[in-house]
């Protein structure tokens, strides 16, 4: 075990996979000599060369389109989109091309591309450096969507994504890049996709979340504990395909659920989670499923702290659910 930040852990996964599999290539803007704007790929250009750590011209549709072609022809590309807020020029390449190759060719052509991209708020980045667009990609048949909340999962989930047969949108909570530190297994380490993690067990309410808000959830759960409310916190890790069993098992036991994310409320992933919980655990529910989310507004600059769900808002939802 070594103590690492999330940035270091993701770097570690990239370096190890590049070492063990010569088909792995990285491509994106400023990822080569500069090591990426968040320094995730620092040193990889010098170590693996500019043919495998590729600085591309500034065009997201080109980065993703090129990655697709590389994957069709036998490489294992990992594309970096500098901020997820810049991913929309590549939206068609992602939803109608990348996600659909397997289906539209009935398995003849597959594009196992991983798209890594910093997501979420908390860095005073305003609208174009803070968004949480995971729902678009969860809604897109053919994509897997992953978001780690710890350095160990950052490494393990990315390694699994890079070895897997399907395209993966790998969302990196940028607020945690250097603030999340933790023990990370050294060497070869993969965390299977599709498995949630119980962060803490509890009996009264299931608090279901992912990414940066896992830490908000832990804080809220600790405070609720002082009030005598025993909160179970679940980190989904893989958003889609969802670990439905873990969610249902928890809610069946607690009878209450609060879902939490930074993304806007309407048609956010929380809406899907809420619907699934009431479809699959209706008779166990003692209260409506509560949602704590960002607002249905563009992501603000000055009012960022207000926009982002904090422990107090989560605590409010926990209390309301328990006292329903």
């Amino acid at each position: 075990m070594a103590t690492m930040t999330l940035v270091q852990a993701i770097h570690d996964a990239l370096a190890l996979e590049m070492e063990r599999d010569s088909r792995v290539v990285l491509l994106g803007e400023d990822i080569g000599k500069n090591g990426g704007v968040f320094r995730v790929t620092e040193g990889l250009w010098a170590r693996f060369g500019s043919d495998r750590v590729i600085d591309t011209p500034l065009a997201e549709a080109g980065i993703v389109g090129m990655a697709i072609g590389m994957a069709l022809n036998g490489l294992r590309p990992v594309a970096e989109i500098q901020f997820v807020d810049f991913i929309y020029p590549a939206f068609d390449q992602i939803v109608s091309e990348l996600a659909k190759f397997r289906y539209r060719s009935a398995g003849q052509f597959t594009a196992p591309v991983v798209i890594r991209t910093p997501s979420g708020g908390g860095i005073k980045g305003g609208h174009y450096h803070s968004q949480s667009p995971e729902a678009y990609f969860i809604h897109t048949a053919g994509l897997k969507v992953v978001m780690p909340s710890t350095p160990a999962d950052g490494k393990g989930l990315l390694a699994a994504a890079m070895r897997g047969p399907d395209p993966v949108i790998f969302l990196e909570p940028k607020a945690l890049y250097r603030t999340a530190k933790g023990e990370v297994p050294e060497g070869d380490y993969a965390v299977p996709l599709g498995k949630a993690r119980v962060v803490r067990t509890g009996e009264d309410v299931s608090l279901i979340t992912y990414g940066a808000t896992v830490h908000v959830a832990e804080e809220a759960a600790a405070t609720a504990g002082q009030e005598g409310i025993d909160v179970e916190v679940i980190d989904l890790r893989t958003l889609w395909p969802l670990d439905i069993e873990a969610v249902v098992r928890s809610v069946e036991r607690t009878g209450r659920a609060v879902v939490l994310h930074e993304a806007p409320r309407t048609c956010g992933f929380g809406a899907e989670l809420s619907a699934l919980i009431q479809e699959k655990a209706f008779l166990h529910l003692k209260a409506p499923v509560a949602r704590v989310t960002g607002f249905d507004t563009p992501f603000p600059y000055s009012l960022e702290k207000l926009y982002l769900p904090d422990a107090l808002r989560v605590l409010g939802a926990i209390r309301a659910t328990v006292n329903f």
Binding site: P57, N73, L75, P77, Q93, S96, R104, S105, F109, P241
Partner: protein, 358 residues
């Protein structure tokens, strides 16, 4: 900026010695046969659609020289990123006719399980990549495939097809720009058939030529008479050779004309005159080549008629074999979304098997 239009087959039926690919008689007749075959395929498919036996079709009538010429120039191991009108090139590169017709039917004879509407086919073994409807999306993908081959030190080229409409897209710019920067072994083959559905070429771009745009990306652009099969083969072959030799990409613009509708859902009388179509009919690529072959003593009127009949028979046999196949099984709806079927699709597959639970 003007680029010369390269023409091999002259009006008088002679060939420019500088552009003559110098094929033997057998090869020349093969090219002619393939063009006739494509025309027969279009005729049959249009009839099938009108009779309600297939849902849709996109023909390439009038563009046979561009299709067959460029497809013939490919070598085994080259990749093809086609648009929905490039069945001709795909067939030349090893895509079996039976698979193509099966795809038109979208039944269990379709290797792609009826997943897409007609003309959106693919064949992994032939390296003919799956077609999508949004135009020019395949251009940056073709750059990635070429990059992969180059990284492994292979000597194969990647050809990507698109039309004059596709040249207006962001993906055209992105694809060609990336190819220029990375000097990938790509050939960008633009069939400039003068129309993007209803929009004439003059309204697609203000510069009058697609090929000149290559200058902006740092590699050569070539303008070729797309109704001249000998010139098309020659120009495409040279571009592919350049790519395989590591000399980087080429943009080829083949000037041709879409004699038919954009698709079976389109009626071109809304936007162009019969006089215009008639003028291009006189430049029919098959007739033009036949004049040359007859002048060379390689083809007679009688043999020509027999070829058309043979082609119709071949298409008919493929149609008969595919039409009888059963529909795709309902359960297949949820297959191939992921490598392994996740729980939610298994659940949805159950709803297909048992829509009403007792």
């Amino acid at each position: 900026m003007e680029l010369p239009l390269l023409v091999a087959l002259r009006e008088d039926g002679s060939v420019d010695p500088d552009l003559d690919p110098k094929f033997d008689g057998g090869t020349l007749l093969f090219l002619h046969r393939r063009m006739i075959f494509l025309r027969a395929l279009d005729e049959k498919a249009l009839n099938l659609q009108r009779a309600g036996r297939i849902g849709f079709y996109i023909g390439a009538t009038g563009q046979e020289a561009a299709e067959v010429g460029s497809g013939f120039a490919l070598k085994e191991g080259d990749w093809v990123f086609p648009s929905y009108r490039d069945q001709g090139a795909a067939l030349l590169h090893g895509y079996p006719l039976s698979a193509l017709v099966g795809q038109l039917y979208g039944n269990s004879s379709d290797a792609t399980k009826g997943r897409q509407m007609p003309n959106h086919w693919c064949d992994r073994a032939a390296r003919v990549v799956s077609v999508s409807s949004p135009v020019a999306t395949q251009l940056p993908q073709a750059v990635g495939a070429a990059y992969a081959g180059k990284l492994r030190g292979e000597k194969s080229a990647v050809i990507a097809y698109f039309g004059d409409g596709g040249s207006s897209t962001g993906e055209f710019h992105v694809g060609l720009n990336f190819a220029g920067v990375f000097r990938t072994p790509n050939v960008f083959f633009c069939s400039n058939n003068q129309y993007a559905i209803s929009l004439p070429f003059a309204k697609q771009t203000a510069v009058g030529s697609i090929a000149v745009k290559a200058a902006a990306y740092g590699f050569p652009g070539v303008r070729v008479d797309g109704n001249d099969i000998l010139a098309v083969v020659r120009v495409t072959r040279d571009a592919l050779e350049r790519a395989r030799a590591g000399e980087g990409p080429t943009l080829v613009e083949a000037l041709t004309y879409r004699m038919g509708a954009h698709s079976t859902s389109d009626d071109p009388t809304h936007y162009r005159s019969e006089e215009e179509v008639e003028a291009w009919r006189r430049r029919d690529p098959i007739r033009r080549f036949a004049v040359y072959l007859k002048k060379e003593g390689l083809l007679t009127d009688q043999a020509e008629a027999a070829l058309a009949e043979e082609a119709r028979e071949e298409v008919k046999r493929a149609v008969a074999a595919c039409e009888a196949a059963p529909p795709v099984p309902p359960e297949s709806l949820v297959e191939d979304v992921y490598a392994e079927m996740p729980w939610h699709l298994k659940e949805q597959q159950e709803w297909i098997r048992e829509p009403v639970k007792e």
